[in-house]
Amino acid sequence: MALFYQIPKLNYHKPKNLNEALKLLKELGDAKPIAGGTDLMVDMKIGRVKTRNLIDISDLREIRKIEFHKDSIIIGAAVTLQEIINNERIRREIPILVEAAENLGSWQIRNVATIGGNICNASPAADMAPPLLILNSKLKLSSINGDRVIPLEKFFKGPRQTELMVDELLTEIIVPRESCNAGMKFIKIGRRRAHTLSIVAVAVAVRTMEDKIEYVRIALNSIAPTPIRAYKTEEELIGSRVNEVEGKVKKLIEEIKPISDVRSSAEYRREMAVKITIDALKMSIENWRCKEK
């Protein structure tokens, strides 16, 4: 019984397999997939999302799996954040995903919240987006008519707007193995030490050669309408010396558009984006050096 708010009557569907889910999605037309529901239920409560049909995808075996292939690591969209944290191979091979997941919400939330939900919700503050962006991740979007694979950069269209069609489900997140071969770091600034939405967060991946940056990826959240890659800054950094990064990262200010809200002013976000990007770069370089040894 909801004592305090009213959710219009709706139908709850629990398909047995992926195919059934995709069929339902097509047939119902206006259905919303629900995974952990940690974003969706809040949105329904405040009336931001209205739907007459919910399709529960949280238990679909096909998309709740982690696979390690030769060229890629595939994470099913319905994998929970706690499952990512608990997975020893992920921890070893893509530790940055664990770092980001450990900083998201609380343990109770992480036990139900999914990685796919975090991406599909397309919040400007989504914490799993920056690490997945720097890993050059691809998304597999499936519908009853077939699958398509797109790079994550192409997925976000605006706050809570994505490339997904009404009959499509995000089924897999594909992380290319070669992207894992870099020094990486995730840093998030929030308003308190845990259980906090980001003021700004950054993920960085770096490879250096003879003290020069030869590969770099930078992605941030909460400083634009969607999580973004900092292409210009990356360009600026390529080829530069390790001890020059501080100056080069100043470029970042040109490609971010932070706003002021309850969590922070735009000015603070701007300054912190630069600071933590420098920090993350330095630590990534350090991590890369350790890795090379």
């Binding site: 019984m1 909801a2 004592l3 305090f4 708010y5 009213q6 809040v42 609380s106 600034i189 308003r191 308190r192 030490r193 845990a194 259980h195 906090t196 939405l197 003021i199 100043k250 200010i253 309850v262 969590r263 922070s264 002013s265 000015e267 603070y268 300054e271 912190m272 600071k275 933590i276 920090d279």
Partner: protein, 779 residues
Amino acid sequence: MSETSKLLEKWLKAEEFIIVGKSIDRVDAIDKVTGKAKFMEDYTIPGMLYAKIVMSNEAHAKIRMINLEHALKIPGVVRIITAKDIPGENQAGYALPDQPLLAEGKVRYHGEPIAIIVAENPEAAVIAASELNIEYDPLPTLLDPLESMNRRDILIHEETGSNIAFTTKVRRGDVSKGFQKSDVIVENEYKTQHQEHLYLETEGALAIPEIGGTYTVMSCAQYPHLAQAITARILGLPTNKIRIIQPYIGGGFGGKDDTGPLVAAQAALASHLTGKPVLLIYSREESFRIHCKREQSIIRYKSGATANGILTAIDVKIIMDAGAYANRGPFILWRATMHASGPYYVENAKVDGYCVYTNKVYQGSFRGFGNPDIQFAVESQMDEIAKELGLDPLDVRLKNILKPGMTTMTGQLLDESVGVGKALMMLAEKADWRKKRKMYENEKGRYRKGIGLACGWHGISTSRGVPDWSNAIVKVSKDGGVEVYTGITEIGQGTPTTAHVQIVSEILGIPLEYITIHFGTTDAPDTGATHASRGASIGAIGVLIAAAKVRERLATLASEILQCNPEELKFENGKIYSKNDPEKSLKWKDLVNEAFNRGVELSSTGYFYLPKGKFDHEIGQGYAYPAYSYIINIAEVEVDMETGIVKVTRMWPAIASGRIINPKAVEGQIEGAIAQGIGLALMEKVEFDNKGAIINPNLTDYIVPTAMDMPKVEKPIFVEDLFRYGPFGAKGVGEMALIPTPAAIANAVAHAIGKRIFELPLTPEKVYFKIMEGRICQK
């Protein structure tokens, strides 16, 4: 000396204790950790209706029309109640009669209750509340107290002729002479913010019509007799028709002292008008928008001191944002005013306070009651004086600290129970203050440590001559079971489930299992509120006296049976025996049985009226409080100079609050108060938009500290500076550790970064830009 005073004194002077002073587990611990304990939501009654409040969407407006027609047609809606349906008096004001239960004619804050929807199911109530048609004629709004206090063209309460609800003053000596004598003058403006109580459980009440035209209201109020009085006034019934009881309450912190009774009255009103049981529970957002907040303060503080750090004068102006209604504002201001010197001696003082109406949610009781604001200013000033003079802040405090025999700023003699100086010295030693203070001065790196110190004091009981009393009923059954009735409530602090059972167990010498405390009910005599840190102090005097009276009677009986002097009898472990001849003994149960057979009364009340003095408002001098509890916190922080993020790493508390009845319970209160103080110091702030609406009325946007934000809290130092009227000398603890926490942290941050921030909260952003101030802009 009266019988009650003799009994109080006898137990104050007791030298040995069986259970007082021991860390027993609270008797509700198992039920609470296993989820068995019942809270408001766990009670339902067949046929019960659901109520929901319709809130104002304007901060200041005339209500032109409330059109019920449409909403009444929604299936399930039973009744919609507005001000004109109130059978009694639509008046719920506390300090002043300025606050309606349901807005009448006009609204004064965004979120103010206007109507109550009563429906057969919660869904219907929710829909009707969102669809009720209310038309307003907006009025200009006043949101800034500094503006509001100078405006007469816009009045929030027309009848008053001014937006200043209340003023206070203290005058001692001659401040201009005092400043002339000083070698250093420090003058600053401090700002504190609205804080939300954020109890785990929101406000609620369940009203049930009973036989004989009476109502039982299960309420979350912190003062059942106040809930009873307000409910009776609203319903137009005598108080004897209203019975208040309470389940376990999920946190109060003062918010339910003020708003709890109003919610009881709202539920009872709905029940009265429909003839059915009615449940009303506020949603989180409703709770945020409707109930009182910690006041916002602006404090201008000027202090003068001699070169060796002796205070010569203070000149203080306190402006508090009362919000839309006076509520407790005048008392909060009064308390802040009387504590404006801090626990220090000062010869010349001038303090002026203003409690100002604005069109924001009204202020109200919140742990510390105006005192955290003023101590933030006082204790920042002490550090600034020390800095100017090149002295250790500890020494400046020690030079001015109040000692027994001194007078306070209002001229009141403190003849006993002033343990603050001792506590301060012990704490500085324990925290290794001098060494850390020097060591952290030289920090150069990105992460800089700082250590800060702040003292606080808190007057016990109501202020001035405002009457305060205690009471309770103790009754013993034939089988030896003891029941206690008290109006003190259980709001998570555990007073009835620790201190009260311990007091009864100590005095009657019986095991805890023999004792049940019926708390939070008007079945008990008026005990006063569970606020002002009084539950286990003033609030427990009644329990002590009632139990002690029963013991005296039983001792007389036992001495007759055992043929010995009553004074040589010991009551222990369910036995009564002569300490000179332990063979002479009786079982508690047998003695009780004998009392029933021989006509000895085993029920008793424990009324005690606190003797007080007078305060003269004209001259701003006089008696403020019967005694003070004292607290000192030392905070250690680490500041990230690149981001402004402050991490509180360690806290050392010391408390001089008389007898500690249950050390573990006190530690719990200290840790909880520190957590809430960290929230006030670092992150919490209720934000308003330019229309007076709260923009963060939810748990996504309003943040409080998590377990990860808590520092290591060291074991507190207890200085047991007994208070003559306290039960066993106890003074009160609940609010204490919050009071100096913001100041201690702000002082530690100032120590770490070398600059001071005068406005709470110290968000990463504020600290960062403070650090950057004056540095060359690198953009």
